[in-house]
């Protein structure tokens, strides 16, 4: 168990596990009434409904829950959470699943389904854009997305008219405190890497 010693400082990970499971446990309150599904604007395009997803979390099938497109096509409109008679924090639970799934995709441990690739890409590029400027610079974001998603002509015809209307700024603004701002991103990333390393060690210990 020497690994534990070397990770004393990242002991917070264990807490993380606790706080994760504490949120997942909230799914136990779900009695499968289907109200969340009934009012969900995205249910048509979801692999499985939010109701089904809560069932999986209840059964602790986290890996399976993470594998469906449901967590990525959710628009985070919070209708489900607002209407749930049991006050299950559905969106919070889904946030945890998304964050975990995103980490895996970032680490190359999982490819992510074809159907969700562009959603994940859009989030990634959004945050890179913010990290660079401190604020969103819309033209660069749209351009990068079209390039990287290979969806080159998407929204392109809208571009000129948007510029013409002065909708999009032409000169980017960069915040003054960009150095310390970027550090926030790097620190978060480092924290995740540590957690990840720890998680792997943990898995090996159990093997």
């Amino acid at each position: 168990m020497s690994t534990n010693n070397s990770h004393k400082s990242q002991n917070s990970h264990d807490h993380d596990k606790d706080s994760d499971s504490h949120v997942y446990e909230e799914a136990h309150k779900c009695y499968q009434c289907g109200k969340c599904f009934a009012g969900c604007p995205m249910s048509d395009v979801m692999d499985i409904s939010p109701t089904h997803l809560m069932r999986l979390v209840h059964l602790n099938e986290i890996k399976e829950a993470m594998s469906y497109n449901t967590i990525w096509v959710c628009a985070a409109c919070e209708s489900c959470m607002t209407r749930c008679p049991q006050q299950v924090p559905i969106v919070e639970i889904m946030d945890l699943l998304r964050q975990k799934a995103f980490k895996k995709i970032q680490n190359g441990e999982s490819d992510g389904e074809e159907s969700i690739k562009n959603v994940v890409l859009a989030h990634k590029l959004f945050l890179e854009n913010v990290k660079f400027f401190g604020r969103v610079f819309e033209p660069a974001l749209a351009g990068m997305y079209n390039l990287q998603s290979l969806d080159w002509f998407k929204d392109v015809e809208k571009g000129p008219s948007m510029f013409f209307k002065g909708k999009l700024p032409i000169i980017p603004h960069r915040i003054k405190g960009i150095k310390s701002f970027k550090k926030i991103f790097d620190n978060c990333k480092r924290k995740h890497e540590n957690e990840n390393e720890h998680e792997h060690k943990h898995e090996h210990e159990h093997e």
Partner: protein, 317 residues
């Protein structure tokens, strides 16, 4: 004079510049000042809370911290999406000491700095306009009669949900924007889709579903008899306005309905110079609709007055 620290947010610097301009204009008209906080940054929006828990709290916390450092105890926000992120952050940082510690660590600030963030309350300007100003304060600035305009108030998601945290208004049937619209003299249609989601957060990546949701909302507004849709969120505005062009070119709708910010409507009622209201930035033209409806209302009014006058004359005969 009332004075507020103000967070515009990224959209209001770009796509939704007219929302920023008209917010400032109406506060000036009401005799209040907005002080933009120094060197503010992006609140992280949906992308941060979908992908990175700590980042999703650290980014809004930076702005709350700046506000506190300039001595503010309130932060006025126009954008519904930024408002939701700032409010959720403020709520959870107060509630959860462990989270506070972790966020302080990634922000590289002392934890006690974040302890006192509870002194900074994010407030949406709709709430400020309703609570800090009386109906009379607002009515007294109205110089243009908007009674000919029928409005569908569209709140979307982020102003009202989750209600436990945002403490904003009734999540199923909010009235705060309805009331402001009525106060400035326009009429409100019964609009059951007020808080339906338009899917804007997936605009970039799931265009087809978003088109469908948009179509439902604008069709419902049209059927309710609205001349305009009024919103408080840049994501909703951009999506509902721009998406109509796609829907038209795909022959999915054969009408159009302008989508404007409630601050633009207020500015119109206050008689603020039309150039400053930014209607030229909409994809679906706004001014022709407004001019037509207002002119029609004047004609009806003149007719009613004339009829009344004739009947009084007759009575006098």
């Amino acid at each position: 004079m009332k004075s507020y620290h103000y967070f515009p947010g990224c959209s209001l610097e770009g796509m939704a510049k007219e929302f920023d301009q008209t917010t400032r204009e109406i506060f000036t008209t009401l005799g209040a000042s907005l002080k933009e906080i120094e060197d503010w940054s992006c609140c992280g929006a949906t992308s941060a809370h979908f992908t990175d828990r700590l980042l999703s709290y650290a980014l809004p916390a930076r702005n709350l911290n700046i506000t506190k450092k300039c001595g503010g105890n309130e932060l006025a926000v126009s954008c519904a999406a930024c408002f939701a992120r700032l409010k959720v952050t403020s709520y959870n940082l107060q509630k959860d000491a462990k989270l506070r510690g972790e966020v302080a660590e990634v922000m590289e600030v002392e934890e006690k700095e974040l302890n006192s963030l509870s002194d900074v309350v994010p407030r949406h300007i709709l709430e400020i306009l309703t609570k800090d100003f009386s109906v009379e304060d607002i009515k007294s600035k109205v110089i243009r009669d908007l009674s000919g305009l029928k409005i569908a108030p569209y709140y979307g998601c982020l102003l009202v949900r989750p209600p436990q945290i945002l403490e904003f208004d009734d999540p199923e049937n909010p009235m705060i924007m309805d009331n402001i619209i009525k106060t400035v003299g326009a009429s409100v249609v019964d609009f059951p889709f007020k808080t339906e989601c338009c899917g804007a957060s997936l605009t970039l990546s799931k265009a087809d579903i978003v088109a469908n949701l948009t179509k439902k909302i604008i069709t419902e507004a049209r059927d309710a008899g609205a001349d305009l849709i009024v919103v408080a969120c840049p994501l909703c505005q951009t999506n509902l306005d721009m998406r109509q062009l796609d829907l038209q070119s795909d022959n999915l709708i054969d009408f159009e309905i302008p989508v404007i910010y409630f601050t633009q409507l207020m500015g119109l009622a206050f008689g603020i110079d039309e150039k400053k209201l930014g209607f030229n930035r909409n994809m679906i033209a706004v001014l022709p609709t407004i001019k037509e409806k207002l002119a029609a209302a004047v004609v009806t009014k003149v007719a009613t007055v004339a009829t009344a006058a004739t009947s009084t004359e007759r009575e006098g005969e």
